[in-house]
């Protein structure tokens, strides 16, 4: 360093002489003031332009339009909605449709993703490779393309209702074992487990499913289910306290499962199976009855689910790989069986790694559901930023409100995640 540099330890208590521009505090205050001023000027400029433009184009502003009659129909609604409903109600319908697709997509994507993640780690070469190919193919193709493919190339070119696929008739669950039963000579003819399969149809109008209609005696099954759940909870509590006290374990999960499935099933059969199906019936050129899942909805759900599942699969795989092998060995060394080791040692640690990226995938799925506008599913963007915007022309309010809804969903989820994360995060000593 130069000899005429800073004199060390002269200790006059005064800062060395220099430009005030080199004072970090001064600089930071100036920079922040300039930035804030620039921002305020920018916002003012935009607001000014907007006001001028809106006045020039004669576009109304404000939120009064929300209470006006909408005058358009929506293909799929979860709540009552007609042409006479207000724009505000249309917004609500769109929002609920978005939530519906998001929730269903999340559930299915998680299930498929879990299977994919485990399959990629499988010791079976073929299964691992199959899962890898799936992930690498799906992840590298735009989700919009996939949605359009399902909608326009698969579901829209299905045959019409008359020539479409129909699945109906009697189904005997024992039929695969018929040859064995025949050989032993136990039964001939249909087994007592045979049931009538209500019609399921797939055609260019969508997927038509039967709707279960519970009979009057079905109440008994509900009651049995309720009692079984209460009993399971009680058993779990008892087993937990007993294990705390004595260390003895109790197969709570299996008992509970048996209670919740078998007891209502028994009551259901005893009361004479009081459940009928309102099945779709082909009348003329179309089906009546049942419930129709529209092609738009199916395409969106299929596309989003299959796409997000590939990402979730990778997250699950990374999460499991992130738990050191020593943890597994330690669990076995403690004498835990494989299932318990997985449930009590490995999965809790893997979840810590999995959950943050998983949440962001859930949010991605929710945000990607806005692509519904491309396949014509009436979600928030399609109903509100599409039709409503075209009719009212109030672009500023409508786009801001749409963005605010998504922002609210994202921020609340992030907030909940942060709280959750703080609870499960590793506490280092």
């Amino acid at each position: 360093m130069a000899a005429d540099g800073v004199a060390i330890g002269t200790g006059t208590g005064r800062a060395p002489r220099g430009s005030i521009l080199n004072d970090p505090l001064f600089r930071s205050i100036i920079i922040q003031l300039l930035l804030a001023a620039a921002l305020i000027a920018f916002v003012w400029w935009i607001a000014h332009n907007t006001i001028v433009n809106l006045r020039r184009l004669n576009i109304a502003s404000g939120f009064d339009f929300l209470w006006e009659r909408s005058g358009f129909d929506i293909g799929q609604t979860l709540i009552r909605y007609t042409q006479d409903s207000t724009y505000g109600r249309a917004l609500l319908v769109g929002f609920l449709n978005t939530l519906l697709i998001a929730v269903l997509g999340i559930v299915f994507a998680t299930i498929i993703g879990l299977i994919l993640g485990i399959a990629r780690l499988s010791r079976n070469w073929l299964v691992a490779k199959l899962a890898t190919v799936y992930v690498e193919v799906i992840r590298n193709i735009p989700v919009l393309l996939q949605l359009l493919f399902w909608y326009k190339a698969v579901l829209s070119v299905l045959p019409n209702p008359k020539q479409g696929f129909i699945l109906q008739g009697d189904v005997d669950p024992l039929s695969p074992f018929r040859w064995l039963l025949d050989k032993v000579g136990v039964t001939t003819g249909p087994s007592p487990l045979t049931f009538h399969m209500p019609t399921v149809a797939l055609n260019n109008r969508g997927l038509l499913l039967p709707v279960p209609v519970p009979g009057p005696d079905f109440t008994a099954t509900w009651i049995a289910l309720g009692l079984a759940v209460i009993a399971t909870a009680a058993i779990a509590l008892w087993a937990h306290t007993r294990q705390r006290r004595t260390g003895a374990q109790f197969p709570t999960f299996r008992t509970g499962l048996a209670l919740i499935v078998l007891v209502p099933l028994a009551i259901f059969l005893l009361t004479g199976s009081p459940l009928t199906f309102d099945a779709p019936v082909l009348k003329g050129f179309n089906f009546v009855g049942g419930v129709a899942i529209k092609p738009e909805f199916m395409a969106l759900l299929l596309g989003l689910t299959l796409y997000t599942a590939a990402y979730i699969g990778e997250i699950v795989r990374a999460g499991i790989l992130a738990v050191p092998w020593g943890q597994t060995e330690a669990a076995y060394a403690l004498g835990l069986r494989r299932g318990v080791a997985l449930r009590r040692v490995i999965i809790p640690q893997a979840l810590r790694v999995i959950i943050p990226p998983l949440t962001s995938q859930y949010l991605n799925l929710t945000k990607n559901s806005s692509l519904a506008v491309a396949v014509g599913y009436p979600d928030l963007v399609s109903v509100f930023s599409g039709t409503t915007l075209n009719q009212t022309g109030q672009a500023v309010e409508i786009i801001f409100m749409t963005m605010l809804v998504y922002l609210a969903i994202s921020l609340t989820t992030s907030l909940a995640m942060n709280i959750f994360n703080r609870r499960v995060a590793l506490r280092e000593r």
Binding site: W125, V137, P142
Partner: protein, 503 residues
């Protein structure tokens, strides 16, 4: 009597190494270990094989055996039992690449593509030297050439633009004033600043209300255009020369390099603007005519190039100690990350015209580009922030102890390490961006997917097989780009993985 030594068996030479048991080597063993190691595994394998036998033959039959490869129109694809209608892709291939770009001007697109490949390939192969020159070509020369080639150049520089440029010049020379310690240089820069501000005021006053001067505005005439160009040419050259002089005259003097770089930067910027105004005799091609892969690549590449620096700045802003900067960065990042890209594109196409002064219009493609770039930069910012947080505090402290200020500390110590860590994340964001470019079709810009889809409406090619064929073609193209990027990222990651590798 035998001694103990005679009785005991002592191995005196090494036993020959036996080959591994037959059951442990060869194809059979591999099958047993990987596919049939247990009963459950065997069942899974058989199910998987059955699944493949169920899925693959129809796909192969559809794509190859039953496919129609050539044909004049849809008639060849209409018969029952026909698979993929590749004839459609064949007939429309040029459109899928260029969109509606005029046929006799397509060489310009090709030339741009060749220039890009010539720039990016040597950049991507580590063993090829001259990386710095290469980068200057790719980030400096190529963009200007591409803009001129693709649009036709010969832009009008209006007085509004001139005003903007002069403001930039004023800011840059103001920065010189702030940074230099040389009295003479400070004086000179101060004069330039004042002149630039004065010229800006004049330009602002004179250009008020005139959106375009020259080319399209008959009443003002070309005079305005020439004058504006002249001002830019002179200012740019002067700045360039001043910068070179500043560097050459005072080698080693602290601050001279920075000051010179600023001058040179300002000069180059103005000369670039000048280059854009030159009439090369190319026919102007509006962006509305662009389409296909051209648009996809333009949106993706410009999005990547602009969002990376913006993202780095935002990440640094989010970690800044200045509360205003940090708050603004957080708000910016969380806003863009919280909304779907569709709404951003809607905003760019519907709201941006409302936000701008009356009469000012933006190119549609440019609006979408701005939306995409801002959207991606927020994601890049979060990725880079992850890298910044992973750098140990000691690195910052060591850099500060070496006497490095904020800029050099980031440029020389922190960012090289942080960016190295986050390469996979950045590439992932880029892949997402590449895939998301397809969304522009919703606001009416025809990218590859949009062009493919538009072809379905062509009465010559309407058939029930066309959509599937078109989408599969687009999917293959997108897949090749994205998969290629992800492989290159893995390669780079391994190459840069210095020193921390476990052996």
């Amino acid at each position: 009597m035998a001694t103990a030594a005679e009785l005991a068996y002592v191995q005196r030479e090494e036993e020959p190494i036996l080959p591994a048991p037959r059951s442990e080597i060869g194809a059979f063993a591999w099958f047993r270990q990987n596919l049939f190691s247990s009963v459950g595994n065997s069942i899974v394998t058989i199910i998987a094989i059955l699944f493949l036998a169920w899925v693959i033959p129809p796909i192969v039959r559809w794509a190859f055996v039953d496919a129609v490869w050539t044909g004049p129109d849809r008639e060849v694809c209409l018969p029952e039992g026909v698979g993929a209608c590749w004839a459609y892709v064949n007939a429309k291939f040029a459109q899928f690449i260029y969109g509606r770009y005029p046929i006799d001007e397509r060489w310009r697109v090709n030339l741009t593509g060749i220039l890009f490949v010539a720039g990016i390939v040597p950049m991507a192969i580590p063993s090829i030297p001259f990386k710095r020159l290469n980068a200057i070509f790719l980030l400096g020369v190529f963009p200007v050439a591409a803009v001129v080639l693709l649009t036709g150049g010969h832009f009008d520089i209006s007085f509004d633009w001139l005003f903007g440029l002069l403001v930039v010049a004023a800011l840059l020379s103001g920065l010189v004033v702030a940074m230099t310690t040389d009295v003479r240089e400070r004086g000179l820069a101060g004069i330039v600043t004042l002149l630039a501000i004065a010229a800006a005021v004049v330009a602002f006053a004179y250009g008020d209300g005139r959106d375009t001067v020259g080319y399209f505005a008959g009443d003002v005439g070309r005079g305005g255009l020439v004058n504006a160009r002249l001002v830019i040419l002179v200012a740019g050259s002067a700045a360039l020369i001043a910068g070179l002089v500043a560097i050459l005259r005072t080698p080693g003097e602290p601050g001279a390099g920075r000051v010179g770089a600023l001058w040179i930067g300002a000069g180059v910027l103005e000369l670039v603007f000048f280059a854009l105004t030159i009439d090369f005799g190319l026919r102007p091609v509006e962006t509305q005519l662009w389409g296909g892969l051209l648009v996809t690549l333009v949106v993706a590449i410009i999005g990547m190039v602009t969002s990376l620096p913006l993202g780095i700045l935002l990440a640094l802003g989010r970690r800044s100690k200045m509360p205003v900067v940090r708050f603004l960065s957080v708000v910016f990042i969380e806003f863009w990350r919280g909304v779907p890209l569709i709404t951003v594109l809607f905003m760019a196409s519907v709201m941006l015209p409302v936000f701008l002064p009356p009469g000012v219009t933006f190119d549609k493609l440019l609006r979408a580009l701005i939306g995409v770039a801002l959207f991606t930069s927020a994601y890049i910012a979060e990725v880079v922030r992850g890298g910044l947080q992973a750098i140990p505090r000691g690195q910052y402290e060591a850099a500060a102890a070496m006497g490095l200020k904020f800029g050099p500390m980031m440029r020389l110590v922190v960012l090289p390490q942080a960016l190295k860590i986050v390469i996979p994340g950045i590439v992932n964001s880029f892949i997402s961006l590449f895939k998301d470019t397809s969304l522009v079709l919703i606001v009416g810009i025809l990218d590859l997917l949009g062009t493919v889809q538009q072809g379905f409406n062509d009465a010559n090619w309407t058939s029930s097989k066309t959509p599937a064929t078109g989408y599969v073609f687009a999917a293959v193209v997108f897949w090749m780009f994205c998969f290629g990027m992800s492989r290159y990222s893995i390669y780079t990651e391994n190459r840069l993985n210095t020193g921390h590798r476990r052996r």
